[in-house]
Amino acid sequence: MITIKGLKKVYPAKHQDVLAVDNLNLEVSKGEIFGVIGYSGAGKSTFIRLLNRLEDPTEGQIYIDGKEISAMGKQQLRKSRQEIGMIFQHFNLLWSRTVRDNIAFPLEIAGISKGKRRARVDELIELVGLKGREDAYPSQLSGGQKQRVGIARALANNPKVLLCDEATSALDPDTTDAILRLLVDINEKLGLTIILITHEMHVIRKICHRVAVMESGRVAEQGDVLDVFLHPQQQVTKRFVEQVMGDKDQEESLHLLENYQNGKVARLHFVGETTNQALISQVSKQFDVAVNILQGKITQTQKGAYGTLFVHMEGSDEEIARAIAFIKTTSVEVEVDADAE
């Protein structure tokens, strides 16, 4: 759906030019929610603005749906932009227009007749859950509602791609979740390809299928969200994963065993689990062992639960061994730390 080859953007400056995006190569498939994460100044905004040519690339090619955006003339570019929706951190709504007229704006640009505009706007208002607020002005809306208007506006001309630049960064956590759910909903309902930029790992975790980690204008690492969570390679990525999961090494350094005279401490790794979420209760029912959860963190991603649990199992050695053997038959990985003797 989107192919990016050798993309580069240099901002000329007096003393030293700023290399905002450096030799970036990416491939985004149709219907995918692709996340780009990085710290402030990593070049994320520049990257996403290159995609619809709000910035002109210094070098490289961008193809969206088979068309080379980077080679287009002005007029062709305007047409293509109508098929690329974009939403912004600060919403960028026209304060002088009502919700309805804000959403109608891209339709006016596309030259849609008044009657059709009205019908389409009604559909969109329904889709983003803003019924009853049609005639409000942006200043009368909450942040979440403003972003809903932004999303409705971005979807007005049935785009194939939706670009989101820090779309939830100005919102509180609950509103962020609601907006993210709406994006997933749209992605599933309309089969829309979404490119989403953020500096928050939990946003990636909640809705993205694949992720690229950006650092100093380059992609440091990319892959399936789960893989990146499980096996972060680069230092930046590890730090982002810690944002969500906490620091692994610190957990391991805890002396979990000291308090237990008998039984075994085991570490259970949930890796994209969807089927074994009731594992603990299953084990304690089927085997004569008591399972105490000591600590851990499980988090939900688009591809299921992911995380680690430390449990302490009490019971006879044989029974514990059988229980562990059972766990090994599931897709949950288990490591037995040590005997607590």
Partner: protein
């Protein structure tokens, strides 16, 4: 009672003068708005980072604005005599004051327009670009509506300055309340006439200010 207080004030002449002041103010205001918005847009669009970024055009527009703003109004009237004579066919009367009034205040309003346009959220312009808007769509559907309260406040300020200019133009025979105060009041030493004209001008200014503020407030949905 009034005729005792102001023995030299003839109401019908005053009405004529008020009519002339309104005529000059409103017609020149219309001309100023059109010319000022065009010039203001030109200043804004050709500036660095603007939609029509163009150093030379911006330099010329800014130069024109600065020069005409630097010329004192009374001198501008004198300077424009030949032009006015050519255009209107006379240099006397309310009509003859119009070219000087418009040329004198349009650059001033242009600067106010430019300031108003600069305050439009860049993100909104960017959003319109991202939707595939043409430049004229951005001008007429984003820049102008989004800066409307500032444009209207600017019109109010300009209109009030124009009322002042019409009084100055009156001294060289343009008609209106300024003319009336000078020729029938000052020169004949009938200071009651000067006083009445002053009060009327102040009232007219207040009316413009009130209407302008009301409209600007109504328009502002921020």
């Amino acid at each position: 009672m009034l005729s005792e207080l102001f023995p030299n004030v003839k109401m019908e002449d005053i009405w004529t003068a008020i009519g002339e002041t309104f005529y000059m103010t409103l017609i020149s205001l219309a001309g100023t708005i059109v010319l000022g918005i065009l010039l203001g847009l030109l200043l804004f669009l050709t500036a660095k980072g603007g939609l029509w970024q163009n150093k030379i055009l911006n330099f010329l527009a800014a130069g024109l604005v600065n020069i005409f703003r630097a010329i004192p109004f009374i001198i501008l009237i004198l300077l424009l005599f030949p032009f006015t004579d050519f255009l209107i066919g006379t240099i006397r009367g309310p009509k003859a004051a119009l070219p000087a009034l418009i040329i004198g205040s349009a650059p001033f309003y242009a600067r106010l327009v430019e300031i108003g346009l600069k305050e439009v959220d860049k993100g909104v312009v960017e959003a319109a670009k991202a939707m595939g808007a043409k430049t004229h769509t951005i001008i007429f559907k984003v820049l102008i509506p989004e800066s409307m309260p500032a444009l209207v406040s600017g019109i109010t300020v300009t209109a009030i300055a124009l009322i002042g200019y019409t009084a100055v133009a009156g001294v060289i025979g343009a008609g209106g309340l300024g003319d009336f105060a000078y020729f029938y009041g000052f020169q004949r030493h009938d200071f009651d006439v000067v006083f009445v004209c002053t009060v009327l001008i102040v009232i007219i200014v207040f009316i413009f200010q009130f209407i302008g503020d009301y409209i600007a407030n109504k328009l502002d949905k921020r």
